[in-house]
């Protein structure tokens, strides 16, 4: 764990200054090889030095270098931070130089992991820190902060309090079966309570998944048969000429990527090779890859030519994408409409002749990812995979409990699912106090000899 890792610790291309951070035994000596104005191995800990990064004699960037020596650093190891001013290219070049001089590219979260393993921060803190570090947009940053402030804990506590009351009511009936004055938790009552809880938890998970899209970006794949205007739509969205756009079918053979921010929502755009039956080997590869991309996507934009009738290839694309979150774009709406679609959701019309023609698509994306809803709700969502996975488990527990209810299982069996749900929710916020239900039971029910 003492080898030296390096990473760009600010979001690439988002901020004006990028920070290249190193941690490990050789952090100082590695940077020293690239820095000429001062001998960094001799500077005091926790000082900043002004100078330049050199590749041999060529100046790469004008930088400020912070040297922080072990142990009073984030990772407790020697840490060097290079503040680069020269934009993406200079930052990347600096990173490359670090690698060339012996550093290893850090895995995602590896700095935080080192901090955690060295006893610098606890698990919950480390998650919140990760959220803030990883946030690529302002919205994501807000989410991270809200995690630190404990809003998530309060939200989960709500669910747990409900469950706890339900559990204690069931438990008291089990441990004190002859207390006839205590309300017995009936199947009917349980059904109602569970339905409500399930709905609330589902909403939380959905919004959290959306909010995780805020943080990580939405993998958006544009598909369609050749020459329906996929690349034009992408370009309109990107508002720059990144994909090659021609009138010859089959030009886009490679996957082209770009990022767009839609009111703070990050879309990782992926253009695909047009899907058609072809004998061209290269193009065939592209088509296979397009289908693969569909599977991995968070959002699929299916582009159809509204001025032509539906073809077999279109139908194939619609079939392959039917279980994905998708938007069907009837492009070329400026031309006479010849396309007829039956009973499909999320269909919009666009034209790429001007910027305005693409607006319906943007609106639809925002709608699909609950952007308005998320923004209006103060960002109290589960914001990392661990939390969302646990919430999904808890949700599954509720579904199991409901299924068990329908199968007429005894209430103490159903309670097993509910208890698991309670524990999973507790795990989200790092609570393990297992006597909680018992405490609650004796606080609320009058039982005893």
């Amino acid at each position: 764990m003492n080898d030296t890792i390096v990473a760009v610790s600010t979001a690439l291309g988002v901020g004006a200054i990028s920070i290249v951070r190193l941690s490990g035994e050789d952090a100082i000596s590695i940077v020293n090889k690239m820095f000429k104005e001062k001998d960094l191995t001799k500077v005091k800990s926790h000082t900043i030095s002004y100078g330049h990064i050199y590749d041999n004699d060529e100046i790469i960037d004008e930088v400020l270098v912070s040297v922080m020596k072990s142990p009073k650093t984030f990772t407790t190891q020697d840490v060097v931070e290079i503040n680069c001013h020269g934009g993406i290219i200079a930052t990347n070049k600096t990173l490359e130089l670090c690698l060339k001089n012996g550093a290893r590219l850090a895995e995602p979260g590896e700095f935080t992991k080192r901090a955690f393993l060295n006893g610098r921060i606890d698990l919950v803190e480390s998650e919140a820190v990760m959220d803030i570090i990883e946030s690529k947009s302002e919205e994501a940053h807000q989410l991270g902060i809200s995690g630190l402030k404990g809003n998530i804990s309060a939200l989960i506590e709500n669910f747990r309090t409900n469950l706890k009351n339900l559990l204690s009511s069931i438990e008291v009936n089990i441990d004190y079966p002859e207390y006839y004055d205590i309300e017995v938790v009936t199947i009917e009552k349980l059904k109602q309570e569970l339905a409500k809880m399930q709905q609330d938890l589902k909403e939380l998970i959905d919004l959290s998944v959306s909010s995780s899209h805020i943080k990580n970006g939405i993998k958006t794949v544009i598909v369609g048969k050749p020459n329906v205007g996929k690349s034009s739509i992408l370009n309109r969205l990107l508002e720059e000429e990144k994909a090659i756009v021609t009138d010859i079918a089959g030009t886009t053979r490679d996957i082209v990527e770009g990022e767009i921010y839609l009111d703070g929502l990050l879309l990782n755009m992926i253009d695909t090779a047009g899907i058609r039956n072809t004998n061209d080997l290269v193009e065939k590869l592209g088509v296979t890859k397009s289908f693969q991309m569909i599977n991995e996507a968070d959002l699929v934009i299916v582009v159809l030519n509204s001025s032509e009738p539906l073809t077999k290839e279109d139908e194939e694309i619609l079939e392959k994408t039917k279980s994905k979150p998708r938007i069907i774009v009837l492009n070329k709406s400026d031309l006479p409409k010849k396309l007829v679609l039956k009973n499909l959701d999320n269909v919009i019309e666009t034209t790429t002749l001007n910027t305005k023609g693409i607006e319906p698509l943007k609106a639809k994306i925002k709608e699909l990812f609950n952007l308005e809803k998320i923004k209006s709700k103060d960002y109290t969502y589960l914001s990392n995979t661990r939390q969302i996975t646990l919430a999904k488990k808890a949700y599954q527990n509720l579904l199991d409990a409901q299924k068990s209810l329908l199968e007429n299982n005894p209430i103490d069996m159903i309670e097993i699912d509910l208890k698991e749900c309670f524990d999973n929710l507790g795990e989200i916020i790092g609570i393990t106090y297992s006597d909680e239900v018992i405490d609650n039971l004796f606080a609320n029910f009058c039982v005893g000899k």
């Binding site: 006893g119 919950v124 438990e171 441990d175 006839y180 004055d181 097993i416 790092g430 393990t432 039971l441």
Partner: protein, 619 residues
């Protein structure tokens, strides 16, 4: 005098401990203040109930005595929670308070290796932090290789009614005045606990016409897997139900300050699950009434136990309170209710074997460890007896796990979490209660009972046969298939089940919630006893849930396998939360699993601890 093991105290813990040691052929001495009070039931006249009833079955499966003895003294039997699932069913009997101790004493006296002596132990004899015997109040010294303390409520016992404080035990016997000070000097942390008991009433002075009847089950039920019954199914002694009323509550409120509890005369902490009637009235003031049971104590005398009416009011207020109850207007109080305070040791100072961490070969069990209840005491007594014997034999101790038994849950809770108020077992304390059922205690524990030598080879053979029968029935149901013939479907429809479309094994059919194993006899003859059928039925019907519980349990066991070195210094682990560090230093858990159950030790602390241990291992 010289013994291998001395058991101090003849309550439920002491009896089990002494029997276990003697049955394992260790010369054992049971010292009790009064032979008449051996296996006495100073509080409620019942044994079993939710969780507790399962403990009694576990004791029986391990080769202990409580189940058999309770069966011999049953006045009434009842299986509780029959409308709920099999995991929470529990047997409870009303036990005759004369028969139970009498039968237990008989059993003790028959034991070849067991002597009983009356006396009051005031000191432990020690050498190099190892116990070597006891010293009685009359200065007699008796040496032994191990000592098991099961002193119940007798350590500095104090009886309270109103402002009246009398030192002594439940029957006015002398308490042990010096032993708890002696333990304190040895480094034990002493807790002051409190419990209470309701008044006993003269049966003939009660107007039962104003009460409602609570009869027993008209069934053949026993704690012991020997399955013998001693009661007359048709002529069980019933209980009766009554309720408090506004008048009762008013009397209590008017005299509240006169009770020991609210008058500030009590130092001890009372049990939450067993509040006094004044507590109930104060804490649940919105409740219009509280239910009370009239329970028979014995066929040989006239006392009725007023369950739910425990109080520490002065006698004259108790009279008023009792007479305010419907049916008890003219009731004669034979014995007044009282609260009792006593000393207990901090159970986190115990190993999971129930040996104390401070003094080698010294074991403690029962109320001295902060628990309450006859069953909890007996379970601990049995384990302490087994482990003291195993230690003398130089063998590995018996440590029951949380997924194996309620006794395991109980002991793990005691040594890991400690107690603040007297500890009672509840089904909700067991995470894997679906595995810890009333019906399968022998399947869980009889192997252990046999291994430690408390289950005889003959009994063990019977159990083996039973196991084979269960297997046989399982296979039969899996192999036998039925097809959608008309008579099959007609029958299924008749019993409100769905008709078949394809062939199905009887095992699959039994999984349907509405199908019982007896329904299957329509298709095939099942020449098996009821308990075999019950095993197969439960394990088939709830297979999904049982598997789930087993999976959860195996996760826990993985953490249990991660040992924490005995000499670990928590001071050196960076960044443990200070509360966690303090708790870990106090309790010194032996495994990561145990550490994770300590309240105040969070998952983050556990990760830090695990990372530390991994490095520690590497260094």
């Amino acid at each position: 005098m010289n013994y291998e093991i001395i058991v101090v105290g003849g309550g439920h813990a002491g009896c089990e401990a002494a029997l276990a040691c003697a049955r394992k052929n260790h010369h054992t001495l049971l010292i009790t203040a009064n032979k008449k009070n051996i296996a006495d039931m100073p509080c409620n006249p019942s044994i079993g109930g939710p969780a507790k009833g399962i403990v009694v079955r576990e004791i029986d499966a391990l080769g202990g005595e409580m189940g058999r003895n309770a069966d011999k003294s049953a006045l009434q039997v009842k299986m509780l929670n029959t409308k709920k699932g099999p995991a929470v069913r529990a047997l409870r009997i009303q036990a005759d308070k004369i028969t139970y101790p009498k039968e237990m004493l008989k059993t003790l006296e028959q034991e070849e290796y067991l002597d009983i002596k009356e006396g009051m132990v005031e000191n432990l004899l020690l050498k190099d932090k190892t116990v070597t015997g006891v010293e009685l109040a009359d200065k007699t010294k008796i040496s032994s290789s191990a000592v098991i303390l099961t002193t119940g409520t007798y350590l500095r016992a104090m009886i309270l009614t109103g402002a009246n404080k009398t030192p002594g035990g439940p029957h006015g016997e002398e308490d042990s005045k010096f032993l708890s000070n002696h333990l304190k000097d040895l480094g034990f942390k002493i807790l002051r606990l409190k419990t209470g008991t309701p008044p006993r009433l003269k049966k003939s002075s009660i107007d039962f016409s104003k009460t409602s009847l609570e009869p027993g089950d008209k069934a053949h039920l026993s704690f012991s897997f020997d399955n013998k019954i001693y009661y007359d199914i048709a002529n069980q002694v019933p209980c009766h139900l009554i309720y408090t009323n506004q008048k009762t509550h008013q009397i209590i409120k008017d005299h509240l300050k006169e009770s020991s509890m609210y008058g500030g005369y009590v130092e001890g902490i009372g049990p939450r699950y067993c509040p006094s009637i004044e507590d109930k009235v104060v804490r649940f003031s919105d409740k219009e009434r509280h239910q009370l049971f009239l329970e028979p104590e014995s066929l040989y005398y006239d006392d009725i136990y007023l369950q739910g009416f425990s109080t520490s009011m002065p006698h004259y207020v108790q009279e008023e309170m009792v007479h305010s109850l419907e049916g008890l207007e003219h009731a004669e109080i034979l014995k007044y209710a009282y609260a009792i305070e006593y000393d207990a040791i901090d159970s986190t100072q115990l190993e999971r074997t129930l040996e104390t961490k401070l003094i080698k070969n010294l074991y403690t069990a029962g109320q001295i460890n902060g628990t309450s209840g006859y069953e909890e005491a007996a379970g601990q007594g049995l384990i302490a007896g087994i482990n003291a014997s195993l230690k003398l034999e130089g063998k590995e101790p018996l440590i029951l796990k949380r997924n194996e038994s309620y006794i395991g849950v109980l002991i793990d809770d005691l040594v890991t979490k400690g107690v603040k108020d007297p500890y009672r077992l509840l089904t909700s304390r067991a995470e894997y209660r679906l595995l810890l059922r009333n019906d399968n205690a022998n399947f869980r524990l009889t192997d252990y009972g046999y291994q430690v030598g408390l289950i005889s080879p003959e009994k063990y053979q019977l159990f083996q046969t039973k196991k084979e029968q269960v297997k046989k029935l399982f296979n039969l149901l899996k192999e036998t298939r039925i097809t959608p013939k008309k008579e099959v479907n007609d029958y299924l429809i008749k019993i409100n089940s769905q008709s078949l479309k394809d062939g199905i094994s009887l095992y699959e059919l039994l999984k349907r919630p509405e199908i019982t194993i007896n329904n299957l006899e329509e298709f095939i003859s099942l020449p098996f006893t009821e308990d075999i059928k019950e095993q197969v039925e439960i394990n088939t019907k709830y297979e999904g849930y049982i598997k789930k519980a087993m999976k959860e349990a195996s996760k826990m066991l993985e953490l249990e396998e991660k040992q924490i070195p005995k000499n670990i210094s928590y001071e050196n682990i960076p960044n443990l939360a200070s509360e966690a560090r303090q708790k870990l230093m106090e309790i010194r858990p032996t495994t990561i699993g145990q550490a994770s159950r300590i309240s105040g030790v969070n998952p983050a602390d556990i990760s830090i601890l695990m990372v530390y241990l991994r490095r520690y291992k590497n260094d």
